[in-house]
Structure formats: C-alpha cells, structure tokens
Amino acid sequence: MECFEAVFPGLTHDEILSATPESTKQWDSIATVTLAAVIEEEFGVTIEFDAKLSFTEILSFLRQHCALA
C-alpha cells in the first residue's frame, strides 16, 4: 500500500485497492517503472518492468515470493 501511495499520491485508499494500469489515469510507463523499482527495493524481489500488474496481482505476487502476511 505504501508503495502505491508513494507512486500515486493522488489516489485514495479505496482507489489503490482497485487500481489497475487501465483504470488509473496516472499509471503511465514511467509510473510502471517507478512502481517496479519501489517494490523491488522494499521487498527484495525482481519484477519485470513491462509487466502491467494491478494492485491485487502485485499483492498476490508478493505473497507468493516473500513472507508478506
């Protein structure tokens, strides 16, 4: 959540929960790269920079790859 808040400071909590690259106006290619870099740094995982994953998909990816509760 903190990563999304940092990359998309204009989104509300609920908007982040349902955020997808298609539904979020601010989610351009730069935001994708920034989001990937922030998540990589925070969780020590590797994310494809061209992967267009929604918030829930990223959450599920992190649950699989690291000890995220």
Binding site: E2, E5, A6, P9, V33, T34, A37, V38, E41, F49
Partner: protein
C-alpha cells in the same frame, strides 16, 4: 534515501506554495529515479521552496542542454555518460567495438561539441557529473590492464574536467567523493539499462542526487574553530612533559596531530577563524606555539585562551571577541568531559571529540572540517576577518578612553562606495550572512538575488572601509530600486566588524545624495538578531513594529536633522 521515501518527500516539495527552486536535468537517458531522488534531496535542503525538477524528453544530451538553456533554467545538472561521447560505448547500441580509432575520433569531436554547448549555457549554476559507469567490455585486453584506447578515452574526460573546473558557475562532482558513496560495482544496473534506458542502480542514483543537491544548495559555511591544545593540537600534556616535548610527528607516533595542524593552517588561510581554548598555564601554551616545527603559523590562532578556568568560559570569551554566533563555530577537544561542559552551556555549538587514538577517525574529522568550512575560493574579506577582529579590539580599547567625537575625527577613515551590481558575490554574501545589522533577515538564493537585478532601476552598492587601524575590506551592502520620488531600500547589511564608525549614517547620506530623492522606503522586519539595525531605525524614525514586514519611511529632511557629523573621506567607484 529509499525511493519510496524520496517519492513522498519530492511530492511534498513540489506541492509547496512557495517560490520555485528550479532544476533541469540534462542527460541522454530518462532520468527517472535520479530526478525523483534529486528532487527529494532538494526538498529536504531547501524546505522553504517549491521544488520543480524538469528534464528534456529526447535522447540527446546536447539537445537537452539546449532545451534547458532555452527554458532559462537557473540550475542545471548535466549527467554525462560514456555513450554521450560515442553511442558505441552504450550496451544499448550495436555499432561495433572493433574500430577503436574511429571511437577515439568520435569521442574527441563529442568533447569539443560538449564544450561549445556548455559554454553557451546561461544557467546560474551548472553541476556536471562526468562518466561514472564502467566502460562496456569493448577492449580486447585483460580487465587488469589499462590499454591505450581506454587511456585515451579517460584522458579526453580528464581534459574536459580541467576545462570545466576553470569556468565560473560550473561545478564538477568529485570522482573520489562519488567513489566513497558508491563503489564501482554498485553503480550500473545492466538489466534496467536494457529494459528502460535508465542505467543506474538506485544506490548510485541516490549518491549522485545527494551530491548534486548539496553542491547546488551549499549554503553558508561555518566561520570559526575553537581547538583544545593538549592531546588535540599536539600529543602530550605540555604542562607535564614540557612544551619542547609535546609532539606531532611520525617519529613520535603522533602524526595525526600534525595533520590536524596542517588542516587548520589551510582553513586559516581561507579566512576561517581559529582559536585555542586550553586548560594550561598561558606561558606553556605560548612556548609550544613558538616551536619552529609547528605545522601552522602561530599567528593564525586568535584569541588564545589558556588558563585554568572552565572551558565554557574560554569559549564564551572567544565567541564575544569574534562576535559570531555559536552555530557558525565548531569546538574540538579530546576530552569528553570538557565537550559535555561546553555543550551544556552552548547547545547550538557543534562540539566534536578529537579521536587521538584512531587515525582513520581523525582523517574523517579533517574531511568533515573541510566540508563544513572549505570553499573553492576565498574572498579578500574572509582573509581580512581575523586581522580586523584583532584591530577592532585595539579600536574599542582606544575608543573607550577617548572623547568619542575626537576619536572618530582622528580615525583617518576612508570609504569606497562601489556600484556593485547583482553579480557581486560579496554583496550577496553580506546580505545572506549578516545578522545584527540586517534590515529584515531576508536570505536569497543566487537565483533570487540575480532575478532582482532585472528591474530597470535596481541598485546594489558595496562599501569598503579603512582607517588608521587597517582595512576592514568590503563591510556593507545596500540593495533596492528607485521609483518616483523614493528610494526603496530592500536589503542593507553591515558587518559587525564595522560598527561604531557611523557607517550606517554614511550609507543613508550616500543614497540621498546619489539619487536626489525625498525619502527612503525601508523594508524592515524585526528579527531575533537584528537589534543593531533596530536601534538605528528607532533613533531615526521612532517606534518600530515588533512583528512582520513593515515599510518605514525616512525623509531626507528628517535624516538631515538626525545625522551626526561624518568624518570619512569618500570615494566612489562606478
């Protein structure tokens, strides 16, 4: 700084409602996280400004430089990488690595083009970062061996550095400082480079961003160092082993003290004030300072407080003599109890332990001192500071015993008033550093200061002073503009070294005389520290507002009634 924190900080910085601090990043790759991190560091170091970091959109460094210049960007961060000299030096290009002679020719031509274009940049500050990434493995030699082609490439960069550092406004990031923060193996993110075009690992981008922000917002340097003597300036207790047996040499295993002396000597030469606070018999300290092998001039120390009273007493007297704020001073002592005693009395004074038994820590301390006090150039005024403080003590002592009017009459004072313009760094420095006689405490970035000069009727004057006690250098500045029948005095600062000489009256008399106007509108604001300016204005104008900005009006008629007799000989330099 972590990227997630940088994003928040930068976002906060770019949404402030304040005057903008604009930076343009010119590079040939998308600056992505470098831009965010630089914005975040700027947001941290200039908390009273809205931060705007922009960059060019195309993949060509020269074109982006021109874009930044066309947009009249005041601050430029030029980030150059190997492929800006020849695209074949990028892993994103497949131009072939065989023809090294052709690469060298292209690099030469690119260096020339870069110089030409950098010369045309109008920005007030240009921070240049020369290639920080390793070269791709294009040379058919073992990596341990420096081959001819690579040596030629590095030579071309060195030439570019030499050229850039001799230009005003250009600051080159120091390769060693980058290396300290960012080891070579932790700089390049090849995956990121290939996939997004951004070549840096986050930690490397963080280092460059931090250094750039620091160079752009360098701010005021400190002014004075108070050092202990025994086991700090030298090894040993002079009162016990004798002044002739304290040491600061390799032979005596006390080299770090010699290095400390050398570092102080360099800073003293740049105008930093150095004083001694020692619990000792004065004669013992003076005897040690007389030694010919001392690594600095003994005259560089002023004042020398050597007695058995508390260190905080010594520090207090030194600060009074220097007449500077504790925040501008560092106190260094090997004894943590003394440090604690001084710190308790002066919470705003930076106190550092001299780590006598740890050479690496001493080197770190010297580096820290260099960062806090060092500057590339030093104005004549800085060098005069120490001498004029000493002269001022004699001035005050003589003044106390004489009739004030008679004393001023016999000073043989002469004043030179110069039309300085906004490009005078001394004028800017005086306004930004002076506290006690400062109209309103306003501080300006170079960009803000220069922008004021665009008004047609803008003026900046500096005042240099000397009397029979010696020169004080340029000790006052007045800046503002004129309109209709008024002079608008927006900034006025007089160094505390020049008080009690009626220079404040001379400044106002000069303004009335020079512009022939009926009144001066004075942009006043009471601060916690500008009591000397407040006293004068109260005398001339009457009661002053305690809070907020105010426009005070001083008419020529009123001034003439109040102005005492002035004895200075004035010369005027256009």
């Amino acid at each position: 700084m972590k990227l997630v924190d940088a994003l928040k900080l930068y976002h906060h910085g770019e949404t402030r409602s304040a005057e903008e601090f604009r930076l343009f990043i010119a590079c040939s790759f998308p600056p992505l996280h470098l831009s965010t991190l630089t914005g975040a560091y700027l947001a941290k170091t200039v908390p009273d400004r809205r931060i705007a970091v922009n960059h060019g959109r195309c993949g060509d460094l020269i074109e982006n430089l021109q874009l930044g210049n066309d947009a009249k960007q005041p601050n430029l961060f030029v980030v150059i990488e190997w492929w800006d000299f020849d695209p074949r030096l990028s892993i994103r290009s497949l131009g072939g690595w065989n023809d090294t002679e052709s690469i060298l020719r292209t690099v030469d031509a690119a260096c020339r083009r870069l110089r030409q274009n950098l010369s045309k940049i109008q920005a007030q500050q240009i921070v240049i970062c020369l290639p920080t990434l390793p070269l791709p493995p294009l040379f058919p030699v073992q990596s341990e061996l420096l081959g001819r082609t690579e040596a030629c490439l590095r030579h071309a960069v060195t030439d570019l550095i030499h050229w850039a550092i001799s230009r005003d406004r250009m600051h080159v990031l120091h390769p060693d400082a980058i290396a300290e923060l960012s080891p070579m193996t932790e700089r390049w993110d090849a995956r990121m480079d290939l996939e997004t075009g951004f070549p840096y690992k986050l930690t490397h981008a963080d280092s460059l961003a931090r250094m750039c922000a620091r160079l752009l917002t360098g701010g005021a340097r400190r002014k004075g160092i108070i050092t202990d003597a025994d086991d700090t300036l030298w090894h040993g207790i002079a009162g016990e082993v004798g002044a002739e047996n304290v040491s600061w040499s390799l032979e005596n295993d006390s080299q770090v003290h010699g290095l400390f002396q050398q570092a102080l000597a360099v800073l003293a030469n740049k105008g930093v004030l150095i004083a001694i606070a020692s619990k000792n018999d004065r004669e013992v300290v003076m005897k040690a300072l007389q030694r010919s092998d001392l690594a600095m001039e003994k005259d560089a120390f002023f004042p020398i407080e050597a007695h058995w009273g508390a260190k905080s007493e010594s520090v207090s007297r030194i600060l009074r003599t220097w007449n500077i704020d504790p925040t501008s001073v560092v106190f260094i002592d090997d004894n943590t109890v003394e440090i604690a005693e001084v710190q308790a009395r002066f919470p705003n004074l930076e106190c550092r332990v001299f780590p006598k038994g740890d050479p690496a820590a001493v080197i770190e301390l010297l580096k820290w001192l260099r960062d806090e006090f060092g500057c590339e150039s030093s104005s004549d005024e800085n060098k005069l500071r120490r001498h004029s403080i000493e002269q001022n003590l004699i001035f005050e002592a003589e003044g106390e015993q004489a009739d004030p009017e008679e004393f001023l009459k016999t000073l043989e004072a002469s004043v030179t008033i110069r039309v300085a313009g906004r490009s005078s760094s001394r004028a800017w420095e005086l306004v930004n550093k002076t506290n006690q006689f400062n109209l309103n405490g306003c501080r300006y970035t170079l960009e803000q200061w220069l922008a004021r000069g665009e008004r047609e009727s803008d003026f900046v004057f500096t005042v240099a002073y000397q009397d029979r006690f010696g020169p004080l250098g340029t000790i006052a500045t007045m800046a503002g503009h004129t309109a209709d029948q008024r002079i608008y005095l927006e900034d006025w600062a007089i160094s505390c070294r020049a008080f009690s000489r009626r220079l404040e009256y001379l400044c106002l008399a000069f303004l009335f005389d020079r512009f022939g106007k009926d009144a001066i509108s004075i942009a006043f604001c009471a601060t916690d520290r500008n009591h000397v300016a407040q006293n004068l204005l109260q005398l001339l104008i009457g009661s002053l507002p305690r809070n907020g900005n105010a426009e005070l009006i001083l008419t020529s008629e009123r001034f003439e009634r109040q102005c005492p007799r002035l004895y200075q000989r004035i010369s005027y330099a256009a």
